[in-house]
């Protein structure tokens, strides 16, 4: 018996078509003559790349696609054969392994070599090594935008100026050279205007998680909501339309006092537990993982992963009046670029504002950047909110690291623990 197809809402269908178009644009580079850049999700400069008619390819997203199509396991093994260690980020290995297996995009056509590697890295230093490997392979120019880490928990004017200076002196001239297109700041302003519109609607949707029942799932559903804005579509008219459509769908559910749709096509209205989730999802067993939540009545009302490419809900918007400065602020403020105390503040705030039962952390085995300090985060959020935390361990796209029984055991224990506390009245979780 074949697996039932995931139920898709109209916005998901639209997103699917957008992604397909982007893959077609990437793989038809030789026919269209358009240039292709590879870049990363957190802190990406999509609007800027669009100013040079450059198509945006994101190796992280390709790895996620491979994970969801159950292809990443083979790619990772392939990368390990060529000497990459077991503990290295599995996004990197899925990408490297895919290259040695013909580098075929989801549309069945081979990925072309990128014309430029646009390395704007925020928080994750593995990105730097990843692009070193790609540069070695493709022998193409690498434009590096160094984004200072917010070690003190906030950005300074110096940091912003430093990024703007790099944009002016390195990135923009570099992109002009690769593309042969002259930079036009008004074009950038228009894209940023589109971005801000989409961002407004995204924030509205995410904040509906405060309602009971929550009309969204801000983790499993959330990864679809953030798809266009965090990838190759921010700044496009398509993204503006997508978020208007999404907002209407969410509004309809709010009006009907309905929860989000599960992949099985039922409205998830019987919401017993409201959670805040920290950390990326597991992609190889995405639906199985999601099911473990809604089967138990657990809905995610807010998550940090939906902020990995920008904390719009904290007030940031791309600003057409200050284009380069707002790109700098965007890069600086991505979740991965925040220090641990700031992450704790944010998560504790979410627990309170979204009236959640507690914080669940999905610790990623092969992601040092996300996982370091997560236990401390959990304990600190528990201490501040008085609500219990829990910790599960999976991986991004390595199927070997997903143990369903183990994850289910911890999740069920956590939900039952919340239930037990409600019934028993329980003592306060952790003494202040």
């Amino acid at each position: 018996m074949s697996k039932p197809e995931a139920v898709k809402e109209p916005s998901m269908e639209m997103q699917k078509a957008m992604i397909a178009r982007n893959y077609d644009a990437i793989t038809s580079k030789h026919e269209t003559g358009r240039k292709v850049s590879s870049t990363f999700v957190p802190g990406n400069l999509n609007e800027l790349l669009m100013c040079f008619d450059i198509v945006n390819n994101l190796p992280e997203i390709n790895a996620i696609q491979a994970g969801m199509r159950k292809a990443s396991g083979g790619y990772i093994m392939e990368a390990e054969k060529s000497g990459h260690s077991e503990d290295v980020c599995t996004y990197v290995k899925a990408d490297i392994g895919q290259m040695s297996k013909g580098n075929i995009a989801p549309n069945g056509k081979p990925y072309p070599n990128p014309d430029v590697l646009m390395l704007s890295y925020t928080g994750c230093y593995t990105f730097m090594k990843w692009f070193e490997l790609l540069r070695e392979e493709y022998k193409c120019p690498t434009l590096m935008l160094h984004v200072p880490y917010e070690g003190d928990g906030h950005s300074t004017k110096n940091m912003r100026d430093y990024i703007v200076k790099q944009l002016k002196e390195v990135v923009i001239p570099g992109l002009e050279q690769v593309s042969g297109v002259k930079f036009d700041i008004d074009r950038l302003r228009q894209y940023l205007r589109n971005s801000a519109k989409a961002e407004d609607n995204l924030v509205w949707c995410l904040e509906q998680g405060k309602k009971k029942p929550s009309p969204i799932d801000a983790y499993f559903g959330g990864v679809y909501y953030i798809g266009p804005i965090f990838t190759a579509f921010r700044g496009t008219e398509d993204a503006v339309t997508y978020y208007e459509m999404l907002r209407k769908e969410v509004q309809n559910r709010v009006d009907a006092k309905q929860g989000p749709l599960t992949p099985e096509g039922t409205y998830f209205n019987d919401q017993k537990y409201r959670l805040i989730v920290e950390g990326p999802p597991n992609w190889t067993n995405f639906r199985e993982f999601w099911k473990m939540f809604y089967d138990e009545g657990a809905v995610v009302v807010a998550s940090s992963y939906t902020k990995v490419g920008g904390l719009y809900d904290q007030g940031f918007r791309h600003d057409p009046d200050n284009p380069l400065e707002s790109l700098a602020d965007y890069c600086l403020g991505c979740y991965t670029n925040l220090n641990l105390p700031t992450r704790v503040d944010l998560l504790a705030k979410y627990v309170e504002e979204y009236e959640a039962d507690g914080l669940l952390i999905n610790s990623i085995k092969s992601c040092n950047s996300f996982s370091a300090g997560q236990l401390m985060i959990m304990k600190e959020v528990e201490r501040r909110t008085g609500r219990p935390g829990a910790f599960i361990e999976t991986d991004l796209v390595d199927p070997r690291y997903f143990s369903a029984a183990n994850v289910k055991n911890r999740l069920e224990s956590y939900f039952q623990m919340i239930e037990q506390k409600r019934r028993g009245g329980g003592s306060k979780t952790v003494a202040a």
């Binding site: 236990l375 829990a390 183990n406 224990s413 623990m417 037990q420 028993g424 952790v430």
Partner: protein, 430 residues
């Protein structure tokens, strides 16, 4: 009597606890999980109900002045006879199953001879079984497979030799049949078996017989059953009857030691560090990921590698005079590391001491991730029976957390089932 039952379907053993509505433990039962959780649940439950009967008998007899001081003896006599009746019943089942399995080309033309050999063997088994259940005889195992198997080998070989028949023929039939019998839920007529046990025994005096018969007449009403452990999803219970073993171990430890705040459970496949509040509610927990390194099964592998029984490892490690540092708690690497150390000339007891320390070091890491060790600390699970592991644990807890009270209950293997039974009581009574 209303019975509240907790069943802990572990990866190695399945345990059951029966409680009354006043949260008093009435009986405990254990069996090997043998990869068939349905049967394991049924067997362990029945064992716990048998034990419940014995508790009821004990209560009944405690009011009989003529037997004061002899109750232990009377009850052990009764249990012995009961077990014998039970054994004979399963033996009949095994014989019938063996006979039914004599088919196929292997036996062609020899069916009659094989049946006769089996009849002879089982007849001798029945006769000799009385010896196994004689007063004062310590049985080597509680499991039918072990008890019947050893006797079958010796009698079967002798019978076949006398009949001039190859022993492998009946051995083959036995191997096939024992699994079927073992995986068959036991017959339910527990009361009848007790009556037969009473008849076999010497309790003819009406002062004893009457209270025992009255206790036997008390109906054991299965009011609520809660399942836990890795096999819990296999139970045909509604969802609200299933609890995770983390909560059950937390609550079970609280029932044993109400002042417990931290619980460490080292089971066959996983290690859990659990923090509980003053009313037994779990506040936090951490457990090993999918890798079972440093869990109970690790010791099982070591025992196999050394060709020893699991229970012999602890005592041997206690003889160590020098500790060998073992780096890996990986179950798969355990054998390699063991041989490596032996090749370097280290003594077995010293290596074993190092292995026990390695397990406990890993448990310490899980405990610290769960928020450290708070007074009182309770150690549960199968490894809590291992004195060498306990020694290392005490040492490391003291070094890291100072003088905290460390509780280890002799019935700690039942902690999860105890928590489950408590949940069962609470579901109905509260």
């Amino acid at each position: 009597m209303r019975c509240f039952i907790g069943i802990d379907l572990g990866s190695t053993t399945t345990k059951a606890v029966v409680m009354d509505e006043n949260l008093q433990v009435m009986g405990r039962g254990i069996t090997n999980s043998r990869s068939n959780y349905d049967t394991a649940a049924a067997v362990s439950k029945q064992e716990a109900l048998i034990d419940t009967r014995l508790t009821l008998f004990r209560r009944a007899l405690s009011n009989v002045s003529e037997v004061s001081g002899q109750v232990d003896g009377i009850l052990s006599d009764l249990e012995r006879n009961f077990r014998h009746v039970q054994f004979l019943e399963q033996l009949d089942d095994l014989e019938q199953t063996c006979v039914a399995n004599i088919k196929g080309p292997r036996f062609a033309g020899r069916e009659k001879a094989v049946i006769e050999a089996l009849e002879g063997t089982f007849s001798r088994l029945r006769d000799s079984s009385a010896k196994q259940y004689a007063p004062g005889v310590k049985r080597k195992s509680d499991f039918f497979r072990d008890l019947a198997g050893a006797e079958f080998m010796s009698h079967g070989e002798a019978v076949c030799k006398e009949a001039g028949l190859g022993f492998d023929l009946i051995l083959n039939v036995y191997d096939k049949s024992i699994i079927e019998v073992e995986n068959r839920p036991p017959a339910g007529d527990m009361e009848g078996k007790f009556v037969r046990a009473l008849e076999k025994g010497t309790m003819t005096g009406s002062s004893i017989l009457k209270p025992v018969q009255e206790a036997l007449a008390i109906p054991l009403e299965e009011t609520y059953v809660v399942g836990t452990g890795y096999g819990r999803v296999r139970l045909p219970f509604p969802k609200e009857h299933i609890r995770s073993e983390i909560l059950c171990h937390g609550l079970g430890a609280h029932m044993m030691y109400p002042d417990t705040r931290t619980v460490l459970d080292i089971g066959g496949q996983d290690t859990k560090g659990i923090q509980v509040d003053p009313v037994g509610i779990v506040e936090n927990f951490q457990m090993n990921d999918r890798c079972a390194a440093g869990c109970g099964r690790y010791l099982g592998y070591i025992a196999d590698e050394m060709n020893m029984g699991l229970h012999e490892l602890g005592p041997l490690a206690m003889n160590s005079t020098k500790q060998v540092r073992i780096n890996s708690t990986c179950t798969v690497f355990a054998g390699a590391e063991l041989r490596d150390r032996l090749a370097l000339g280290e003594k077995r007891e010293d290596i074993l001491a190092g292995l026990h320390r390695a397990i406990i070091l890993r448990a310490m890491s899980i405990l610290s991730r769960a928020g450290g060790v708070k007074d009182q600390f309770t150690f549960t699970g199968g490894v809590a029976k291992n004195e060498a592991a306990v020694r290392e644990l005490r040492k490391l807890i003291k070094e890291n957390y100072g003088d905290v009270t460390i509780n280890i209950d002799p019935d700690s293997i039942y902690t999860g089932a105890l928590g489950g039974a408590t949940f069962a009581v609470r579901a109905v009574v509260n």
